[in-house]
């Protein structure tokens, strides 16, 4: 049995290293799960990345993985050939799920009081897939209520801190998943991205996050926010880890009618381990740099890091061409009509009758008003109100239909960039900032919803157009992580992973790559304030 320090060292490994060492018998899946659970439990007060833990199911899954590993060893020593494909790549690997992935017999609150006490009657498609892959689900991570937010501060269970600076937000809405991966509580995590909720927190926490194309991953068993925009995707500490997690969950599922009946490429197999091979993937690639993504309010340090990353890609052999996506500035308004409209319809189901929070206050109408008035938090109420208004008689055409038409224009911008138009050659992918700023202080944008919405100016056009986007770390500004975003054609996730892997390879020796999140040591100090206490202090100041 390993010492506490040795167990903690296990949490620093990448997925492929964990997998190789599990197979070589250096440690067991149970030890690996215990190492992560011990770290996550010990630091949860100071970080608040988790909504609930599932030690029992995690340890049972780990023991099942150990049995499969032992079976493979026994077969190998008996002289039988064990095909490498016989053991799935995520066997025994710890995974965190965002708290809107329903799992049987376990809570899923989506960060909302209205789902307090809700226990899942079935497993989401991706939970089934992870089980089949032998992955070890540690628990559920904190999030903005119903994935509405860019800071994880709109959670009924309190905010999450950023491991790089505990006085700052981790981004959102998948901020718990991002913080958990950045703080080594799990090597990979599932998030969802409706307007940037994977890429923006990945950018703010120095992790890798992919929003897959609409239809790539089944949403069966995922709490719905905005159904024409929601997608499920992976976080990891590098591109290969994120690709391994997407591989395990992507693909058609007939229980989600919007899931695409298309084959899924072998993403990890296309990502070389040697840096020189990975860097060579950039040769002959044409990347478009959309000028509109260097938006008003972008921090100079963020712009400098992104432009330096673009120069590095160019020096390594990529061709960079300036492109224009002229309707980018309309993305925010378009998104903030379509998403609340869909949300107001999706959230109508929380009525206190079949499950979840319920307040009895007289007749049916009084029950609805009391249940929903006390169950939803401030941001969910704002979005329900906006959506209800945008869909109401007399305003439907002016707001909702207008937004759907502008959506056509925004999608057309991307189509033209990828096809080549107006004298511009076609591009293989776009390269842009992920977030206009680094992580902002807790409480800084809570009072101004529009300032909060601007966090996603560079990510939400991708959702509006139904495309895929990858955020990879590209350096620091003022000591905080900056993300570089690659945007791809529909179902071109494999190319984004290759570009992200190539970028990792050409910056493998950069100083910032060697840094761990600055505030990790504080997470072990029992005197460290909670994120909620920090927010109270910062807002008062």
């Amino acid at each position: 049995m390993a010492s506490a320090a040795e167990l903690r060292a296990l949490t620093r490994l990448h997925v492929r290293e964990m997998a190789a060492r599990l197979r070589a018998g250096h440690f067991t899946a149970r030890e690996l799960a215990e190492a992560h659970l011990a770290l996550a439990h010990a630091q949860d007060r100071a970080l608040n990345a988790w909504a609930s833990f599932d030690d029992e199911r995690a340890l049972a899954a780990a023991e099942a993985a150990d049995l499969r590993l032992a079976g493979a060893h026994a077969a190998a020593s008996a002289g039988e050939k064990v095909a490498p494909a016989g053991l799935p790549p995520l066997l025994g690997i710890p995974v965190a799920l965002k708290d809107l992935v329903v799992t049987r017999g376990r809570p899923s609150t989506a960060g909302s009081r209205i789902l307090e006490g809700f226990v899942g009657p079935y497993d989401a498609h991706i939970a089934e897939r992870l089980d089949e892959a032998g992955a070890v689900v540690l628990g559920k991570t904190n999030m903005d209520e119903f994935a509405m937010g860019s800071s994880t501060e709109h959670s009924a269970w309190g905010p999450t801190s950023n491991p790089w600076d505990l006085d700052r937000v981790p981004g959102g809405s998948s901020g718990g998943s991002a913080a958990a991966v950045a703080a080594f509580h799990a090597p990979v995590a599932i998030g969802t991205d409706t307007g940037g909720s994977i890429r923006q927190p990945a950018s703010l926490t120095g992790t890798v996050g992919l929003r897959p194309t609409y239809g790539r991953v089944s949403r069966y068993g995922i709490v719905a926010f905005a159904s024409s925009l929601d997608q499920v995707g992976p976080f990891g500490r590098d591109v290969r880890d994120a690709a391994a997690l997407l591989q395990a969950v992507a693909g058609h599922d007939e229980r989600d009618a919007t899931s695409a009946p298309l084959p899924v490429p072998d993403y990890p197999a296309e990502l070389p381990d040697p840096d020189d091979e990975a860097a060579a993937l950039l040769r002959g690639v044409r990347l478009g740099l959309p000028r509109e993504y260097f938006v008003k309010g972008m921090e100079p340090g963020v712009e400098a890091a992104v432009r330096s990353a673009v120069r590095a890609l160019e020096s390594a052999g990529a061709e960079i061409v300036d492109v224009s996506l002229p309707h980018t500035d309309y993305g925010l308004a378009t998104y903030y009509i379509i998403a609340p409209a869909e949300a107001s319809a999706n959230l109508a189901r929380y009525d206190g009758i079949r499950y979840g929070h319920a307040v009895r206050d007289g007749d049916v109408l009084a029950n609805y008003l009391a249940t929903r008035g006390s169950g939803f938090g401030a941001e969910a109420k704002r979005r329900i109100m906006l959506g209800t208004y945008a869909l109401s008689a007399g305003y439907y055409d002016a707001y909702y239909v207008k937004a759907l038409k502008v959506r056509t224009l925004i999608k057309g911008d991307f189509d033209r960039a990828f096809a080549g138009a107006d004298g511009q050659p076609p591009v293989d992918a776009l390269v842009a900032p992920t977030s206009p700023t680094v992580a902002f202080p807790l409480g800084a944008r809570l009072a101004d919803p529009v300032a909060m919405y601007l966090s996603d100016a560079c990510t939400l056009p991708v959702n509006v157009a139904g495309l895929c986007g990858l955020s990879v770390p590209c350096g620091l500004s003022e000591g905080l992580p900056v993300g570089l975003q690659f945007i791809g054609r529909a179902f071109d996730e494999g190319r984004l992973f290759r570009l992200g892997r190539a970028y990792e390879a050409i910056t493998a020796t950069a100083d910032w790559r060697r840094l761990e999140p600055t505030d990790l040591p504080k997470l072990d100090d029992p005197a460290t304030p909670t994120p909620a206490e920090r927010t109270a202090r910062l807002v008062r100041r």
């Binding site: 009657p121 308004a333 009758i353 499950y355 609805y368 937004a403």
Partner: protein
């Protein structure tokens, strides 16, 4: 487009079945009007001839095979219900005069 009045906000809250206090309505009035101002930018665009896009991947008529399969047992389906009687969810009467 005219700004939302306090009464408009209260009406939308009623449509959305949200029971909100007067202080919440007042705060929402300010915030919603600020957000609606951001929407005005869309009026700059002439979209007369543009078709709306409701979904992006153009899947059509998705059907599954019509085969019997297992479904959630009643006990499990009702396990989360706040009030239950036998195999039913209990709700307050919705038709007047049926209380007795």
């Amino acid at each position: 487009m005219a700004a939302l009045s306090h009464a408009d906000v209260a009406h939308v809250a009623h449509l959305a079945r949200l029971g909100l206090g007067d202080d919440e309505l007042t705060r929402l009035e300010g915030q919603l009007n600020h957000i609606l101002e951001q929407y005005r930018v869309l009026a700059e665009l002439d979209t007369e001839a543009i078709a709306p896009t409701a979904q992006t991947i153009e899947l059509e008529n998705i059907l599954r095979d019509d085969l019997p399969g297992p479904c959630l047992p009643v006990d499990e389906a009702l396990a989360g219900a706040p009030e239950r009687a036998g195999d039913h969810v209990v709700v307050p009467p919705i038709i007047a005069g049926l209380d007795e």
